[in-house]
């Protein structure tokens, strides 16, 4: 018999029941909750006289809606304010630990899980948010769910699920210097397309992946959903264990080491068989920028805006025409010549400490180009505090970046941080959909170092362009 993939191991360990002719009932080890997709679920519980089965496996934070102004400023938008209050009230009523705006542990839901050490290998993790795939970097099966499913998990701590297929995504060899985790995942999404991962759980493998820090692996897993995949996974190794050691959610001393030994089993067996396999040569990777309105529309920073004629598929050709029109770009324009109005360094893709450090190295001693608004929005209060201890805030502020309070911010523009009509951004987030960052806004996805260099030169640029 062939060995098991990492996905199959986690799946098999969480089957509560697999009734004939019905989906498998899967147990959920950790349910993360935020203010936007939960209120109707809590109301559903009340309406039906149900409770939360396992408040001790449920953790909530405010992130999508919070303004990034100083915490002392009240939330101006009454609808947002109400939603934030509702989260707190619901959590209080149902005995769920919650981190409201300004709380020392508050931050983007996919940043706080790992940094608090509550995201652990071998777990099943869900959240009413598609980027839950981020947690897969720890060898956990983590995926996004809808509001009725949020209610379902609150009530039963389980979910009926159809088993996904598996896809091995190997990034073979070493990535060239200057290629970040974001570039790796942009290349993968570009290769697979926005639907290429549909119905699959991706397992990222290969030297270029294992070489990444945990932060980098999270960046890669985060964007699995952009390829249409259900989840992303990276096998457990020493880095996983070292990252978690000493975090609040894990035991100490001997107990931790025993647990860590168990975690080492969360790797695919050597002879495991995947439903699909793709291989990407790391040596061919470069820094990337998206040019269109879906995250698979990727081009090298050194390249030019593609022409619709380059696409054989008529659908793709049409889509690229629409994208170019929306983005206000002409085929053949060198990417480096495109000026930006706004630079956003933030989001659950790239707002961890390592991302901010990388951007700060580029920003140190430089000035943001005139007319460019550049924001740095740390992913959590813990990230913000750590960055301040390291003096990163001063580097950014001295260079003319804004240093803001944590939250999702301009990743989705639900709070006041939005692009104006026709404004162009270089953004470290994960979605460049029409209007995602504000009505009529034009988003280009990039890595933190490209974002920082772009802020300084006012057009798309690499760190070498800044120093050279």
């Amino acid at each position: 018999m062939a060995g098991q993939t990492l996905f199959e191991k986690i799946w098999n360990q969480h089957v509560v029941a697999s009734p004939e002719g019905e989906p498998t009932l899967l147990y959920i080890d950790l349910h993360l909750v935020h203010e936007v997709t939960s209120p109707q679920a809590f109301d559903g519980l009340r309406l039906n006289g149900r409770g939360v089965r396992r408040p001790d496996l449920t953790l909530a934070t405010a992130d999508h809606n919070v303004p990034t102004d100083p915490i002392s400023t009240p939330v101006k938008d009454p609808v947002s304010r109400r939603q934030l209050e509702a989260l707190e009230e619901n959590c209080r009523e149902f005995n769920i630990t919650v981190f409201p705006r300004g709380h020392e542990n508050q931050g983007i839901v996919h940043i706080i899980g790992p940094e608090l050490g509550v995201t652990q290998p071998g777990m099943t993790i869900v959240c009413g948010d598609s980027h839950t795939s981020t947690h897969g970097a720890f060898g956990a099966l983590a995926f996004g769910i809808g509001t009725s499913e949020v209610e379902h998990v609150l009530a039963t701590q389980t979910l009926p699920q159809q088993k996904a297929q598996t896809m091995s995504v190997t990034v073979r060899g070493k990535a060239p210097s200057g290629v970040s985790a974001k570039d790796i995942v942009l290349a993968i999404v570009g290769r697979l397309g926005t639907g290429g991962g549909a119905g699959h759980v991706l397992e990222y493998r290969g030297e270029a992946i294992t070489d990444l820090s945990m932060e980098g692996r999270m960046t890669v897993c985060n964007m699995s959903i952009e390829a249409g995949a259900r989840a992303g996974l990276v096998a457990v190794d020493d880095k996983t264990i070292d990252y978690l050691r000493g975090r609040p959610g894990v035991p100490e001393g001997e107990a931790f080491e025993r647990l860590a030994e168990h975690w080492r089993s969360y790797v695919s067996d050597k002879d495991a068989v995947y439903d699909r396999e793709i291989v990407i040569e790391a040596s061919e990777l470069v820094p990337y920028v998206t040019w269109g309105t879906n995250p698979a529309q990727v081009v090298a920073l050194d390249g030019v805006v593609p022409s619709p004629n380059e696409f054989d598929d008529p659908d793709e050709r049409n889509a690229s025409e629409r994208s170019l029109d929306y983005m206000g770009l002409a085929p053949g324009e060198p990417i480096r010549s495109i000026p930006v109005d706004v630079v956003f360094i933030g989001s659950c893709t790239n707002a961890r400490i390592e991302d901010l450090r990388a951007a700060a190295v580029v920003a140190r001693g430089q000035r943001v180009a005139p007319g460019v608004r550049a924001l740095v929005v740390p992913g959590s209060h813990r990230v913000k505090r750590q960055a301040e201890e390291e003096g990163l805030d001063e580097i950014f502020l001295a260079a003319g970046f804004e240093w803001r309070e944590p939250g999702c911010s301009m990743c989705l523009g639900m709070n006041p941080d939005q692009l104006g009509q026709g404004q162009r951004s270089a953004s470290t987030s994960n979605r460049n959909f029409e209007g995602r960052q504000g009505r009529g806004g034009r988003t280009h996805l990039v890595s933190p170092v490209v974002a920082a260099a772009t802020a300084i030169l006012g057009h798309f640029a690499s760190p070498e362009d800044v120093n050279g």
Binding site: A17, L25, Y27, P39, L47, L57, S148, T156, T158
Partner: protein, 207 residues
């Protein structure tokens, strides 16, 4: 979803046909984050009119709505069902219904009673004559009755919908049938919990 076997209460005659879901709950209400509280928006275009039947003191507290044909057509918004239930209705009696509305109702446990036009007219007459009359909707027997005058009519229910209503099965309800399996899984599970990690205010407990 709560099981519904028998609904006993009073009925309010709407005496309108073609009440679409936009009329049941106008679109401004869809911006709300809550799923409860839609009762305030129920028929909100009509509620300002003092002569509207829901403003008639005699029908306050009625839990069965008697309406004209093609009730609940139009937009698929489930908010219409939420609004009716939140207001206090447990059943709607009418000669015909919008399909999606009927389906949405079955998910939420709102009982749809379809009767012939003349039976609906008669029921309307009975509750207009005396608003205090007890009306019974029996899901198990698939009967609607006004015992005071010995009036009863049968109605049809899809067998699966009847089961779901009787047992209160929604997706969560269906999962609850596996309660024993869930509990035994939990007893075996060694997965960590958040117990002892955070205090009541969400601060990390020092060790």
């Amino acid at each position: 979803m709560k099981p519904v076997r028998v609904i006993e209460g009073r009925a309010v005659p709407l005496e309108r046909s073609d009440v679409d879901t936009d009329q049941i709950i106008p679109s401004d209400w869809l911006k709300r984050v809550e799923r409860t509280g839609f009762g305030r928006g129920l028929f909100s275009e009509w509620r300002d009119d003092p002569s509207f039947v829901l403003n008639d003191q005699r029908y306050v507290g009625a839990n069965i709505l008697v309406a004209g044909p093609r009730f609940g057509t139009g937009s698929s918004r489930e908010h219409a069902v939420w609004a009716l239930m939140d207001y206090g209705f447990a059943a709607v009696v009418a000669p015909s219904f919008g399909d999606i509305f009927r389906n949405n109702s079955s998910k939420q446990g709102l009982v749809i009673v379809q009767l012939a036009q003349e039976d609906v007219d008669e029921l309307t007459r009975l509750v207009k004559e005396d608003s205090t009359r007890l009306v019974i909707v029996d899901v198990d027997q698939m009967q609607v009755e006004v015992p005071q005058v010995d009036w009863h009519r049968s109605f049809a229910l899809d067998p699966m919908i009847r089961e779901r209503l009787l047992y209160g099965w929604d997706d969560i309800g269906l999962t609850m049938r596996r309660e024993a399996s869930i509990t035994s899984f939990e007893e075996r599970s060694t997965a960590p919990t958040l117990e002892g990690v955070f205090d009541g205010a969400g601060h990390v407990i020092a060790r």
